[in-house]
Subunit: 138 residues, 4 copies
């Protein structure tokens, strides 16, 4: 039952102007994982017409940060210390779907992993080193 996790991570999406501008949408969340979606539009594209690597990476990063948020105590927040993305194939359009999972929940460092699909194509493999810091996002 993921009501607690969903409620925990919803503000991470609602209060982030860049996330709203891009249109990343929180789909579901549980303890240690989050799923998001993005309807690809013109504003997401680079000069070849593909979704920009930065748009794919930002989606995986934000979804991973949200997943990390589900495993830390109330009153703490997540910042990304390191992120890495394999852009496996160009993402041409349709819907991007991302699932991020916590690989290792630590007190300070949380390692995450995420996959991004464009319709049925696996377009990105992401991993992140997240830091839990004191203070709420509100």
């Amino acid at each position: 039952m993921s009501t607690g996790a969903l409620a925990r991570v919803a503000p991470v999406f609602d209060r982030a102007p860049f996330i709203r501008l891009m249109g990343y949408r929180l789909v579901d969340a549980g303890d240690g994982w989050v799923e998001t979606e993005l309807e690809v539009a013109e504003r997401h594209r680079q000069q070849h017409g593909y979704v920009h690597a930065g748009v794919v990476t930002a989606m995986a990063d934000h979804t991973s940060g949200a997943a990390a948020t589900t495993v830390i105590p109330e009153g703490r927040s997540i910042l990304t210390a390191h992120l890495a993305t394999h852009l496996l194939r160009p993402a041409a359009g349709g819907t991007l779907r991302c699932r991020a999972e916590v690989v290792k929940p630590g007190r300070t460092l949380i390692v995450t992993r995420a996959d991004v699909f464009c319709d049925d194509t696996h377009v990105a493999l992401f991993d992140g080193t997240m830091v839990s810091v004191e203070g709420d996002i509100a």
Copy 2:
């Protein structure tokens, strides 16, 4: 004299809707390097008020891809195969400046490195594995 490099990479910025929406600006370019700027605005921020890691990464990635473009033959284009960013410190506002350089120009793979500064603060260290593919962006 960097006129050739600037002319070569200008379309990489002008024709990319995501880049225009974000506001990344090409400042200068030479053989194997590119410099860009971004005036931080509300739309770049995440839920804590900092510039989103994805915005910083996208800037470093795009600047690096442009740097790689300066070392490949006409008629070829650059795609990112792998990228990684150390988010060294939060970027709070002001102006982001990025300089990207080609570390190793290969026929197929081009390794790049970039630094991002927020005013006088070093906020990110980026490295990329770029692939040179056939075909022009136009």
Copy 3:
């Protein structure tokens, strides 16, 4: 049935002096994956008594390179272009087990992923960008 894959990757272990010195052992292989083992000994340790990060990374890298070898044509070989390892927890001793898989088989670039366990502890998450080059190892 993995006889073909095993036969293909066996020389990658037998003919590599560093691999023999370390003692990495090929356990099984199939199309797109390889499994290896290492009995931890004194020579693998760093100054705190843990297995050195380089020993864990070399195991994941070599196992990943072998996995990539199973998906390329005869007469070609694999070189690592980029590797990255999350050292999730210290590896204290016992037996290291690694499983590497091909995430994306490309003509030139092959993306791999590997996990390393120390007895029942997940100690490392690895990802690699491998390049297929002309020429046999023999």
Copy 4:
């Protein structure tokens, strides 16, 4: 004057069995940087005759960990949380030289960067996320 830094990092090399077996040699050190060397021998090679990617990575990792050790308080030690290596060119033989530097000294996380040269060839670009933990190595 680097006497203090050299004395601080010497045990990181002397007390690590894997480092002694490989033959990595501490050359010089100062606040925030360390330099090392390795005479390439048969035991460092993979199946193509090149120095194994794991040997290059272990050198960069260990040198980076030592560099991080120079910027933390006495009584604390360094563990690698994440490492990444671009293998720019094959290392065929001769002498490997590595210089590692601290890019960002934090209380918990220390970001490092290293380059490895094989004679006059730039063979690797490395970056690491190091964690400062309580406890001495002795």
